[in-house]
C-alpha cells in the first residue's frame, strides 16, 4: 500500500490498514519508548502512542515525512507519560561534576543495545534532553518548549548528561 492510501484507510477506521501501519512502525516506536521511559513501561507507552496516532491521524496534512510525524507523536506521548509520573524533574544544581576523558572509539565500538543500557542509567531529566537533542536532533529552543523549561536549562541538562555518560563510560573502561 502507498503511504497516502494507508493513511486514508486508517482515517476511515479500516482495521487492516491500521494493523499494517502498526506493523510498519511498532518496532521503531518501541525503541523510542524504551529509550525515554525504560523497558518496564515501554509497552504501555507504545499502546498510548498508537492510540494517539490513530486518533490524530486526521490532522496529518501530508506536510513533511509521515515517519517524522509518527515519531513526534510517540516522543510527545513519552514526555507526557514522564510528566504524569513526575519523573521529569530538571536538575538545577550547580555543575560541579568533573569531565572525564574518554576515547571516542569506545562509543563507536559499542553496540546499539549497549548504548541503550548506557542511556538507561541516566536520570530521567538528563535522559530526556539527551534523547531529544543528541538522538532526535531537536534544537534547544524546541526542547525547551516541549518540556516547558528555559532554553538555558535545556543546555545545562545536556551538559550534565554528557558528563554523566563520560563518567559511566570511564568506569566501564576501567572495569
Amino acid at each position: 500500500l502507498q503511504e497516502k492510501e494507508l493513511i486514508q484507510r486508517c482515517n476511515a477506521n479500516d482495521r487492516r490498514a491500521q494493523r499494517l501501519l502498526y506493523d510498519r512502525f511498532a518496532p521503531l516506536l518501541m525503541s523510542i519508548c524504551r529509550r525515554y521511559v525504560g523497558s518496564n513501561q515501554a509497552e504501555d507507552v507504545l499502546q498510548d502512542s498508537f492510540v494517539r496516532i490513530f486518533t490524530y491521524l486526521v490532522q496529518y496534512r501530508n506536510e513533511g515525512s509521515f515517519e517524522g510525524w509518527v515519531r513526534r507523536v510517540c516522543v510527545n506521548t513519552c514526555i507526557r507519560h514522564l510528566e504524569k509520573a513526575k519523573r521529569l524533574q530538571v536538575d538545577y544544581k550547580s555543575d560541579d561534576m568533573p569531565e572525564y576523558a574518554t576515547d571516542s572509539n569506545v562509543v563507536d565500538q559499542m553496540s546499539a543495545d549497549e548504548l541503550l543500557g548506557l542511556i538507561d542509567r541516566l536520570p530521567d531529566g538528563y535522559k530526556t534532553v539527551f534523547n531529544l537533542s543528541i538522538i532526535e536532533g531537536y534544537p534547544h529552543k524546541e526542547i525547551a518548549e516541549m518540556l516547558g523549561i528555559e532554553e538555558s536549562s535545556s543546555r545545562s541538562q545536556l551538559t550534565k548528561a554528557r558528563k554523566y555518560l563520560q563518567r559511566n563510560l570511564s568506569n566501564k573502561v576501567e572495569s
Partner: protein
C-alpha cells in the same frame, strides 16, 4: 568528549521486537470498526427503493394503457348511511342493484351512441373513399366530414378515457399512498451516504493526485456512480407523482 554521531547513527533508526499480543490491546482501545456495516445497508436501501419505484412506475404506465372495457366495470356503490343501518340491508342491496343497472344502462346507451358514431365515421370514410375515386374535387369536403367525425370520436374517446382514469386511479390509489414515504427514503439514503463517507468524498481530490491503485479506482467509481443514480431516482419519483 563523547562524539554525538555514534548515538545518533546507531539509535535513531534502532528497532526492537514487539509482542503480538500488544496489537490486540491496542485494538480494544480503538473505536469499533463500522465501515463494513455501512455499505450493505446503503446498497440495500438503494436497491429496495429502485425496485419499488420501478414497480410503481411500471404499474402506472401499464394501467394508463389498459383498454376501455374496464370502464364498464363500475364498482358497486352503497351509501354510508344505508350501509351502516343493519335493518335496511336488503333495501340497500336493491338500491345498489338498481343503481348498477341504471349505470349499466347508461353505459350501454353511451356505448351504443359510441358505436353509432363509429359506424357513421366508417360510413363517411367509405363514402369519402368512393367519392374520392369518382370525384377528386370533393376531397376537401370529405376531409372536413372526417375531421368533424374524428372530433366527435375524440370527444367521446376522451370521455371514456377520463372514466378510465377515474376508475384506474381509484383502483390504484391505495398503491400510491405510500409514494410519499419513498421521498424521505431517498433523501435519507442520499444524506446517509454523504454523512458516512464525507471524509472520503471530500478528499477525493487528494486521492486522485496520489498514485491510483485498483481498489482506489473502484472506490472512486462507486462514489461518483451513486450520485447520478440517486438523482435519477428522485427525478423518477417526481415523475411518478406528476402522473398520479
Amino acid at each position: 568528549m563523547i562524539d554525538e554521531n555514534p548515538f545518533n547513527s546507531k539509535l535513531y533508526n534502532h528497532t526492537l521486537p514487539v509482542r503480538n499480543e500488544l496489537w490486540e490491546s491496542i485494538e480494544k482501545r480503538l473505536p469499533p470498526e463500522t465501515e463494513q456495516k455501512r455499505f450493505p445497508f446503503f446498497w440495500f436501501l438503494l436497491f429496495a427503493s429502485t425496485i419499488i419505484s420501478g414497480a410503481l412506475m411500471f404499474g402506472i404506465l401499464h394501467k394508463k394503457t389498459t383498454p376501455a372495457i374496464n370502464s364498464k366495470q363500475i364498482p358497486s356503490y352503497t351509501s354510508p348511511d344505508l350501509s351502516n343501518n343493519t335493518e335496511n340491508t336488503n333495501q340497500t342491496e336493491l338500491i345498489a342493484n338498481s343503481t348498477t343497472e341504471e349505470a349499466s344502462n347508461k353505459d350501454l346507451q353511451n356505448s351504443s351512441t359510441h358505436q353509432q358514431d363509429l359506424n357513421a365515421s366508417t360510413l363517411n370514410e367509405e363514402s369519402a373513399s368512393s367519392s374520392n375515386a369518382l370525384n377528386p374535387s370533393s376531397n376537401t369536403k370529405s376531409t372536413r366530414s372526417n375531421t368533424s367525425s374524428a372530433g366527435r370520436n375524440s370527444s367521446s374517446s376522451t370521455k371514456s378515457n377520463l372514466s378510465n382514469n377515474s376508475t384506474s386511479s381509484s383502483s390504484s390509489s391505495s398503491s400510491f399512498h405510500f409514494l410519499p414515504l419513498l421521498l424521505p427514503c431517498y433523501f435519507f439514503s442520499f444524506f446517509y451516504y454523504f454523512k458516512t463517507e464525507k471524509n472520503n468524498f471530500y478528499s477525493s481530490a487528494a486521492l486522485s493526485k496520489s498514485v491510483a491503485s485498483p481498489q482506489k479506482v473502484k472506490f472512486q467509481m462507486r462514489q461518483w456512480f451513486l450520485i447520478p443514480m440517486q438523482l435519477l431516482q428522485i427525478i423518477q419519483l417526481i415523475y411518478c407523482r406528476q402522473l398520479t
